[in-house]
Amino acid sequence: MLSKRDPMSARKDIFSKIESALGSNANARPDKNAVDAIHAKLGWTVPTDLRAAFIQRVEESGGEAYHFSNTQELHAWLADFLKDIDSPRVMLAAHDMLNELDVHSQLQQYGCEIGETTGLDSAAITNIAEQSHIGIGTASAGFADCGAVLTTVSPQESRALSLLPDTHIVFLRESDLYPSMTEFSNTLQTQLTNNPASSYTFVGGPSKTADIEKTLVQGVHGPRRFVVCLI
């Protein structure tokens, strides 16, 4: 009971229990080289065509992936994508990459209603996301071995955008493709230890479950569709 009242004492208790189980050696952190040496023993096979491997893996995990060589191709695809949705409501990350690709004006041209979130509090943003059909965001890395992309929460990009709309689209530059998370781990390390964002998510396909008789169902809580636009 005492430990519950005094939070610091539980901490002390546990550290002293560890020490009595393992000896004081447990308190000395191994050199980083010790960890590196274990990883150095592993060799990884890298696919020759990262893009093709990545697209295949995204599709295998229930997502869709398209490659665009230029903005025209992208705009044509967007037009085609939007034509089946009746007055689509879209939530768009305020990201430079999307501005450069002129996504905003394209969406407007096709009659999309774009949820404006500047200056709103999180409850209002959640509400807009909940009303949106599509959330469009960005990814800073993609991984060819598994088809996942890394999304990061930022002042430009909310969490709700990737969670609440039925379709989640991410834009990713082809130059940000990596063979696997292993080759990206140094960059991740730097991001996590240097003023990190509050949340990073490796997204590997749409929301899915197989909890009923191992039958795969897409869109259990989050997006039913997950689309990667590779630029």
């Binding site: 550290f15 050696n25 292993t182 996590l192 998510t201 197989a210 909890d211």
Partner: protein, 467 residues
């Protein structure tokens, strides 16, 4: 229902379940599907064995220097704005969660799947204190509706058929009967979406803590964990203290292995890394993140060098899927939240040797669990070690000891062995039924006990020589 399950009731629980053809069918389908999917994606690597060794070595480093890594992890997490708490026992951890919820005047909790919160009976404690705590993982939601505990580490409702789930939804949610998984999932989606929007507190477990950055990693497919830790104002995570990895490269390795071993995926739909509460300027996310680091028996595992490696476990559930005993009796028979081989190793420590003394014997010692384990925990050796502890503590039955004395007597001398064999075959023939099995009280109720062959190997061999 959940409270009736105790590891000490093992025999009774098995007897209740083993003759249920629906359960046997559900188990066979689920475990074989999982194993097949796993084999496909493990084949991506020609160095899977080396990866297992590396994962083992990484966890060994962490566990052998646990206080150092824990200290580093906590320092980083606190620097990032996570409020870190420690709990000696499950009860302490549950009270701490309750205190945090009360401090925020919280009423509605959304929870994502977490073995640690199952272990500390969190829902029970919250419920007793008038707080509605809703499981949001579909499998967990189903078993919460049914008032059961998970029967598998990663697939909690694996023991139920679509018909059973359909009937459950019809009864509890008042919907029209359906056994279509898509329709049932859609019903749960609609109900739970509103709950996510209404909840004030989100609770999750933790799959990995990254020591040198203080980030916590939560692995999932449904998006319910991400919703639980994104929409409510407060996020509370409960983590077993052994869950650490040193750095991002180690995380990358273990993620490759966890998804493949657990669900046969290359990666799950959402692998979340949380470093703290919403930063200045970020549009949404919780205002507070609490992390409760749980001992609850883990330092006891640490103390015993023969059991220490059980703390390497990443809770993938592969040892359950491959275990011929689990495949036959299912998770609830073990009477604990951690079923299967890993559960039979740790439960006698978590729940006490007396309570858990039956579980280490629920194994054929075939070693499949050890072979499939992504972090190379020598599970079947540990089961033997637990058996030894039980025998040494004189917790086994007296007649068992006498029987093994006789066994020893007959096995150590060829003449005695031959005579015992003759007697055995004689009585076996007298007692055997038409199907060639024997009724042996206490044994054959849940098992097939084949009668001994009419002739011994030696006799058959001699006959061959004469031919």
């Amino acid at each position: 229902m959940a409270s009736e399950l105790r590891p000490s009731q093992f025999k009774k629980l098995v007897e209740e379940r083993i003759h249920n053809p629906v359960l046997r069918n559900n188990l066979a389908r689920a475990t074989s599907t999982s194993l097949k999917k796993r084999a496909t994606v493990v084949a991506d690597f020609d160095n899977w064995e080396e990866m297992r060794s590396a994962a083992h070595d990484i966890k060994k480093l962490v566990i052998n220097h646990l206080s150092a890594y824990l200290d580093q992890f906590v320092g980083q997490a606190e620097a990032n704005g996570i409020k870190v708490h420690f709990a000696n026992t499950g009860g302490d951890a549950a009270s701490q969660v309750l205190d945090i919820i009360k401090a925020h005047d919280g009423k509605y909790v959304v929870k994502s799947k977490s073995m640690a919160t199952e272990e500390i009976h969190l829902n029970h404690v919250l419920e007793e204190n008038g707080i509605e705590s809703l499981e949001t993982d579909l499998g967990e939601y189903i078993i919460q509706l049914k008032d059961e505990i998970p029967s598998h580490i990663t697939a909690p409702a694996l023991h139920l058929s679509r018909q059973e789930i359909g009937k459950l939804f019809q009864e509890k949610l008042g919907i029209e009967y359906s056994e279509n998984p898509e329709e049932l999932t859609a019903v749960a989606r609609d109900i739970l979406r509103q709950k996510f929007l209404d909840a004030d507190i989100g609770i999750s477990g933790v799959n990995f803590g990254v020591a040198d950055s203080g980030a916590i990693c939560i692995v999932e497919n449904e998006g319910n964990a991400r919703l639980s830790v994104s929409l409510p104002k407060v996020h509370i995570a409960v983590m077993g203290m052994e869950k650490l990895v040193p750095d991002a490269q180690s995380l990358a390795l273990l993620l490759k292995m966890l998804a493949r071993s657990a669900t046969g995926q290359r990666i799950t739909s959402y692998t979340n890394l949380i470093t703290g509460p919403r930063r200045d300027g970020e549009p949404d996310g919780p205002e507070e993140v609490h992390l409760i680091i749980l001992d609850n028996g883990r330092t006891d595992l640490l103390k015993d060098p023969e059991l220490r490696e059980s703390l390497y476990c990443i809770r993938c559930g592969a040892c359950l899927n491959i275990c011929p005993v689990y495949q036959t009796i299912g998770g609830h028979s073990y009477g604990t939240h951690y079923p299967g081989p890993i559960g039979s190793v740790i439960t006698p420590v978590f729940d006490g040797l007396e309570e858990g003394k039956k579980l280490p014997f629920a194994s054929s010692l075939c070693g499949s669990c050890t072979e499939i384990c992504p972090v190379k925990i020598p599970l079947h050796h540990m089961l033997l070690h637990q058996r030894k502890r039980i025998v040494e503590s004189k917790l086994n039955k007296r007649w068992e000891k006498i029987a093994f004395r006789f066994w020893h007597l007959f096995m150590m001398n060829p003449t005695r062995y031959r005579i015992a064999g003759k007697f055995g075959r004689f009585f076996s023939e007298l007692l055997s039924k038409e199907d060639g099995s024997i009724n042996a009280p206490g044994w054959s109720k849940t098992r097939y006990f084949p009668a001994m062959p009419k002739k011994s190997f030696k006799e058959l061999y001699r006959e061959r020589e004469h031919e």
